[in-house]
Amino acid sequence: MNLWERITTIDRRIIYLLLTIVVITPLIIKPKILVRVSQPVRDAFNAVDQLPAYSVVMISIDFDPSSAPEVQPMLLAILRHAFKKDLKVILTGQLALGLPIGEIALNQVAPEYSKVYGKDYVNIGYRPGYSALMVGIGREIRDFFKTDYRGTPLDSFEFMRSVHNYQDIALLVSLAHGAVADAWIQFAGARFKQKIIVGCTGVNAPGMFQYYSAHQIEGIIGGLQGASEYEALVQKPGSATLGMPAQSTAHGLLILLLIIGNIGFLISRKRGKR
């Protein structure tokens, strides 16, 4: 086996080791990075930023802990933005395992802006059967959520008394890692003309571009990069900004390996033909 053939068949343990090194090193060194804000993220930011104070924003936690490292920074940044703008936040979730993440985030961000549960934000929890719920909210939110997640009636919260359906929700934010964002767009967006922004994992982001370019959603925050862009816009760098150098070096390593591997492949093929 010659050198080029060896390169095309590197032991996977070497690749794992290289990846570990290029991911860990930037996390230790913490180099400063320049974040370029893309248009879809800027549009998402503007959709929140242009809302008048005291508007109601519904944030749906449609991801679970497996995607939290990518999507949780978006949730924190959006909550900071919303509270800074004095928006009222309704938190819900279409994945039972995702909702506690929202509760943790609310309890982390709300005290930073002296926001009070029930007055500035509520967590209405989770109900199974999300497509039914999405259509049902178009009629009356109380058909599905009579109480918040603690069992307190929704009408005991002052700002919730005037919230009945999508007409009373200025913006819907779906933070998703699967098909739930599509369902929000199809049911709440297409049917009830609800304004929506989507925050999703890097893998799901390309699938959202068809909705974005058709103006069916206001903006997209895609993956860790999107989260770091939103953090830059709210001027509060967090775990996404911290993680971007590691993602950057990992992408760089993969591109380098692909180039080397393909050079090896082409040379081996050429020699084989001879």
């Binding site: 996977r12 990846l19 320049l34 802990p65 490292p69 603690r150 993969l254």
Partner: protein, 234 residues
């Protein structure tokens, strides 16, 4: 005869009713749609119980029969009921399992979140290794895919911006008439990534989406008209 035709008639009647309800969202049809959706939500809730029953039965049988990997099944059953127990306890004690001081939240924060995140992160290693082995320029289509993937990867991270700044300096050195600040601002990799995602990728995505929707409609029609009957077989 009735065993076969009655379910088909129920399906046909329900489907027609829902189609009418969708296009006439007024009483009595609008209310019917809401009622059907509520039933759907209730049935969805009960599927959790069905899942719990099926999972427990399957793994308990494995434990009792001492089949291969029975120990993992035992761990699964113990974890399942420990989670359920802690959730119920937290519900009674703190009025919600999601209360920050509840024991369920401790389990969630220190067990479920790290375990799920670790599982997902491990995927990166496999994808990395698989991409290295599989991404070969065997033909034109594979070459285009590889180039597009590299451009998206570069455009998606700050590294792409850094490489572009070095390239700009190089271009400026050869062609001094090009203004360096303007070249910096172009951010070629990010621009190409945005274009790839917004135009060719979105077009392909739409095509697939429309195809899926048409397939879904065709399948729904087949079920409504009783042509597709596999769901009836036991």
């Amino acid at each position: 005869m009735l065993n076969r035709s009655l379910p088909l008639l129920i399906v046909l009647f329900t489907a027609l009713l829902l189609i009418v309800a969708f296009f006439i969202p007024h009483k009595p049809f609008g209310d019917l749609e809401s009622r059907f959706l509520n039933w759907y939500a209730i049935i969805s809730g009960f599927t959790f119980l069905l899942g719990l029953d099926s999972l427990t039965r399957h793994h308990l049988l494995k434990v009792f029969r001492q089949e291969k990997g029975w120990f993992y099944s035992l761990l699964l059953v113990i974890s399942l009921f420990a989670t359920l127990g802690l959730g119920l306890y937290s519900w009674f004690k703190f009025s919600s399992p999601f209360a920050l001081r509840a024991p369920f939240m401790w389990l969630y924060k220190y067990m479920i979140i790290p375990l799920q995140a670790t599982m997902f992160a491990t995927l990166a290693f496999f994808i990395f290794s698989a991409a290295y082995r599989a991404f070969r320029v065997r033909n034109l289509a594979a070459t285009l895919l590889l180039i597009a993937a590299c451009l998206v990867m570069l455009g998606n991270v700050p590294l792409g911006g850094s490489i572009w700044r070095y390239l700009s300096q190089f271009v400026h050195l050869i062609f001094p008439q090009f203004d360096l600040t303007t070249l910096y601002r172009v951010e070629l990799f990010a621009l190409l990534k945005d274009w790839l995602l917004a135009i060719p990728q979105a077009a392909a995505g739409r095509g697939i989406g429309i195809g899926l929707a048409l397939g879904g409609i065709a399948m729904a029609l087949r079920i409504i008209l009783g042509i597709e009957r596999t769901y009836l077989s036991s």
